[in-house]
Amino acid sequence: MKALVVDDDEFQLKLISSILEKNSYEVELASSGKAALAFLDKGEHVDVIISDVMMPHMDGFSLLRALKFDRRLTRIPVIFCTSLGDKSSIVKGIQAGITDYLIKPIKESSLLPKLQRATEAAYRVVLVVDDEEILTALLKKALMREHYRVLTAGSGKEALELLTDNEVAVVLSDICMPGMDGFELLAEIKEINTKIPVLLMSGRGQYTENDAVSAGADGFIPKPFHNTQIVALVQAHWQ
């Protein structure tokens, strides 16, 4: 688990990073919002960002806006560190999309549970189901490039097993598969949890969007498709 800590005060960086390292987090430090963005621009992966609010040049809000504006970074959970009594930053932060907040001085006992909760939400996955291994591999790669966590299953049965053990946010499944087909899988998933969006895909001409939607699917995409179409569809159904 990797945390990016952003604060212009060396003292606070030292305190927070020491608590994190002691608890087996990998830590990256940034002394400004700009430095944090420069680090993320290199394509470095982080699981959570802990940021001070009041910083010179680029404050926590500007950093948050930049993160929310960037499709690749928008899902990284952000925890704000605010001062006691600074309610307006908390309210503004929540409206702008922070996952949680901490009141300074930061205590280990409040930092760790909040981090755990924030990263659990970020650890939701896209489940890709297709018996064509090359296709699942390609989809996995395309989605991971967008910072999604991805699990793949080669059959409906395998998909159902993964669904019981993981926090699945979106299912992307082929229709034509040996054994349990996409429609059967869709029915099974909706039986377990109606809220999980299921997106179906199939070879052009075999099934239509109408077939998929009438069976209860939340979206349909005909093959062959471009990766950007899949990413956009998953993004639209990510809750």
Binding site: D8, D9, F11, L15, I19, P56, S83, K104, E108
Partner: protein
Amino acid sequence: MSAYSDKLLEFAGGDERLAEELINLFIENYPAIIATMENAIQEQDPQTLRMAAHKLKGELGCMGAETARDLAVTLETMATNDDLSDAGKAMGKLRSELTVLEVALDQDMRALAK
């Protein structure tokens, strides 16, 4: 150990070495922060004063130095309200509080070094 170091040790999760490093960092850095604040008051620059007071407030909070922290909050509020008319007075009080704090921290560092 002073109450300040005890408090810091609490925030450092009982890690004496970390507390020591943080005290050193504070002793090393705070003169520059107050110099920035005094300069900002002289130059009538509330934005710089606000940033520096805010930073100092955060560090003082970690040491439970409540009187000094309250003064830093007062200065931060004055800067936010763009009214530095009483800032010099508050700054004087803050400076003497910090001198007391540094003496206590110095003693703690010597005790820790033994």
